[in-house]
Symmetry: C3
Subunit: 360 residues, 3 copies
């Protein structure tokens, strides 16, 4: 099955050229023309694949791929007639290079402001900024050079966006928020919606909305997934640190302060005022209670529900979350529990029978 | 309470006409005019309701509805003066027919391209395609006959959409994705956003984004819920098989391969490269770890967290998910655990007292 | 760090004016000019902060803030030279007043219909309704006075929207839905998408879509979070009662009936036909099974998975959810379980050794 190409052009790159680009050593012909990338078991002729470890050598022998990236060790071991190997230091890095080679051109609006876009008063646009069809840019917005707003993006008053950012269709950035440089925001994400805060009216007349007059600040190289929401602060800023990557459909509550280089998988939810230090990794669907502090380098298993502060470097799991070794031990004990209960009940019956023998 | 009608017209259908349309047997007058559908306990005169089983006969006697769909057995049993029964083989199928009879016309754009839509170069539109106000269609997109793009849909370069599809407002389809025929996508869903993949730079310089050059392919009759995200593949395609229905706010990671006829409830999350075979049913909020394989016909209880492969036909539940009978047994044992712990502590104290009697 | 101001203007308000507005008693100078609000530990000179209880008096002494709101008791106790205190009855209510004083003007479209908006036939707009750029209003929509549609909102045929509502960019309201007065809907939320219902075709030919001909009805003062989806009813209405607040990325299934004054945190999911009585509070990520009834005033801990009806006034937690005291007791018992299992195994070994002494 050949995938359609978004650009309409079919790219062809020789094995020699690929080896040159990844700085790899070529085993076999440099003349083979490659037109795509695929996994070992799904690759077709004229596609390149990759071999991460020696356990996959059997799959490589059966693969229909014309070429593979492999570590130097693997490459030396598993030459196959008619197939090409490109030996590299780091297979994953080389694969990223190759994916770039075959990446279809992204469909980006041209620099300039599309005639169907609506731009407010006092907006400042840097060099080569692209504002796509149907975008709405509020007053006093400033956008740095090279930034791309795909069609249908809404940027409200007073927002500051740095250079070389990319905002996909349907993204909404509310008033006053700040995006630093090279921030990427995927479709339909919402930055700076009101935080979720109410105060019970003293007269019992229901809930009074707490105004959220703060902003969201996204550091350099932050990436925000499709449909993800990062709420604005009550005051000050909800902060996402440099280089942090947040997957799709996550909820980041008002006044959270997330450090640098964190990675949050899909559907993670942080309540308000959570502090996450640098380099924290969260699996999918992790939940964090409000005002909790998570130390640097913490790892959280998918679906963990965090109710307490976590010390730096820890690995936690479970509901409620705790040290993952303890959580595992408890899970193992629960596995034995039904039998344990049965045994204890049997034993108790036997003890009772011994104590109070019934006449037959 | 009479619900407003989206079309502004009030539809009136006689009981005789309804009986004819559902192929049912009429008990009582065929002249009653019906103008809507409601549940037994909420129905008003001039509304039709339905009786799924004999346990509901009492509710039927008290219901204010003018008519009801019921099985032939029930119909024969519970005639009420002045009320009409329509006896049918399958109440649910008949109800679907009746809902169609009373369905207000959907608000769809007219065939043709709205003058406020922006259409790229080389776009091919089939017969009677409707492109609503403010849609953005990228270059080289192909759309099959009868497909409807509601207002505010974004379709990026090189996308292929089949016939008789319906895309609701705010939907974003990224480059190169493929939708087969009769695909329905609800508002603000995102198809083909970048997968969530990073590689740690060997120089320690942070996370390097892995390019995702693959696509998403949605089979015939697939339905995707509001706000749901299906990520594009690293290479090849993230696949959703024919007839699979995915509810709102689900997250389908890059390179997942979902079979035919699956049903996923709201807020389900699949990490990357999950394989789901045909006919799998997932309750709400199920989470599945990356690279897991779920066999055909598996059923997963709501909130299950799947960490391991699941054999075909199994029913699993829990966190972590396991065979639901085992999960139930463990839950039952946990219910008894606090008492068990108390008893054991008491017993131990008694044993100790017996072994080491204290002088009074 | 001074936050940018979305309006471009710097507001300055004297301590005397603030005291007057919150009806508080001024301790110290009334001439200090305040330009923003911040937490005790992050406040800068010329900012006002707040002191909720005496435990924070130390932090107040160290704070760089120029002024603070505090209870009358605290105010009397902790005067600091050069700093201003404003004594109030209720700190949180006063803080809300102060946040309003410093709130930057929201970026709202002007009353009237933007020339890029598309408005269908038979639409009725009240006084001072604002319809922003790129909005799409279907035929026969009625919108009450003072309601604001931010840019890029889609309102489909026959929808009724009350007075003084505010719909943020990217919101989609499907056919026939009803919003009462002062409803606020945050960006990219979806109201009235089809419910998730299918019927297995009797001929085994797959899943037949159940038409959802009902609507969604949102009561007065309802607030719906960013990205949240409320599905339309199969028939009748999915209802959200007066004053209920729903956070971001929640999923409310078809035919749910939610009472008045409820508060649902982020990523909550309700399956179909759930009944929630008045004043129910749900933590983040709570899941509720279909057809469950939750009594008035119930509180659900974050991540609870509700499978059964809950009596009014109860506090539940856990997976599956149960009375939170029982859930806590079980969690405490599970904490002890690994040791218990070890002890029992040791004991059993000892018993066996005693019964069956092995020759050495």
């Amino acid at each position: 099955m050949k995938e359609p190409d978004a650009t309409g052009e079919q790219r062809m790159i020789t094995t020699q050229e690929i080896a040159r680009r990844v700085g790899g050593r070529l085993y076999g012909s440099g003349e083979i023309e490659i037109e795509g990338v695929a996994a070992l078991d799904r690759a077709q002729p004229r596609q390149i694949t990759f071999i991460r470890d020696t356990a996959r050598i059997g799959a490589w022998r059966e693969s229909r791929a014309s070429a593979a990236l492999a570590s130097h060790e693997v490459s030396a071991e598993c030459l196959e007639s008619g197939k090409v190997l490109i030996g590299v230091e780091d297979v994953d890095s080389a694969l990223i290079e190759v994916l770039h080679l075959f990446a279809p051109a992204v469909d980006r609006p041209e620099p300039g402001v599309d005639e169907t876009a609506v731009v407010g008063a006092g907006v400042e646009l840097g060099k080569r900024v692209a504002v796509g069809a149907g975008c709405r840019i509020g007053p006093r917005v400033r956008i740095g050079g090279g930034t791309i707003l795909h069609p249908g993006v809404t940027v409200m008053a007073g927002v500051t966006i740095g250079s070389d950012c990319e905002l996909y269709p349907g993204v909404v950035i509310r008033e006053g928020c700040v995006l630093c440089d090279r921030v990427m925001i995927h479709p339909n994400a919402v930055i700076g919606a009101d935080g979720f805060g109410y105060h019970c009216a003293s007269d019992g007349g229901g809930l009074v909305k707490v105004p959220h007059i703060g902003i969201v600040r996204l550091g350099d190289d932050v990436e925000i997934g499709a449909g993800t929401c990062v709420d604005r602060a009550k005051f000050g800023a909800t902060e996402v640190g440099e280089g942090t990557k947040i997957d799709n459909l996550c909820q980041i509550g008002h006044n959270c302060r997330i450090g640098r280089g964190c990675v949050f998988s899909g559907q993670v939810g942080l309540a308000g005022s959570v502090v996450v230090e640098d380099g924290v990794v969260m699996g999918g669907k992790v939940a964090v209670r409000d005002h909790v502090r998570i130390g640097a380098g913490v790892k959280l298993a998918a679906c963990s529900a965090v109710m307490d502060d976590i010390p730096a470097g820890a690995t936690w799991a479970g509901y409620p979350a705790q040290d993952s070794r303890v959580a595992l031990r408890e899970h193992a004990a629960i596995r034995k529990l039904p039998e344990l209960v049965r045994n204890i009940q049997r034993q108790r019956k036997a003890d009772r029978a011994e104590r109070d023998p019934q006449p037959r």
